[in-house]
Symmetry: C2
Subunit: 102 residues, 2 copies
């Protein structure tokens, strides 16, 4: 059993019960529906985004917690960080928003 | 003593010891230096931003906590919210990042 599937693309599923959703520059409502469907069968979703797509991730988190799953979900944790592309000194801000069902 | 100065513009000072810094689309390093000087004589700074300026606020928080005041400051709390402009239904994401000296 040495063929390990290298997780990549939109959704990476870690062993535990949470899923990572990368938010880019897709329409916010479409991303929100993706995250909503993921939260449908998971307890936790980790929304990740960087640079100019960060406002989209914030909007998705707001849409889920204030509209779609209002009162049934909340922001558990928010982490800010910096992604330094090797060698070229450009720093990109990153955000990680953990949404959980309550 | 009825002349009350209406707080507006870049810095609003509340009665308590924290200052609000609104981050817009100014160069990030310039905003970071503003916040640094504020943190110089305050214990806490509340960074606020909205919409497409949110990545700038995240960058400022990272520059302060990871570079300028590395080890002497931290992110105390992050709040995400939505600003609904009255009547026209446009929703704008907002972020509030509280930085404190440690």
């Amino acid at each position: 059993m040495d063929e390990t599937r290298e997780p990549h693309g939109q959704e990476q599923t870690k062993k535990s019960d949470d899923t990572i959703a990368y938010i880019g520059n897709d329409p916010v409502m479409q991303s929100a529906l993706d995250v909503l469907s993921t939260l449908g069968n998971k307890k936790k979703v980790i929304i990740k985004s960087k640079g100019n797509a960060i406002p989209n991730a914030v909007a998705v988190a707001n849409i889920i917690t204030e509209k779609m799953l209002n009162g049934n979900s909340k922001v558990e944790k928010i982490t800010l960080d910096t992604d330094a592309a090797a060698g070229i000194g450009r720093m990109t801000s990153t955000i990680e928003i953990i949404l959980v069902k309550i």
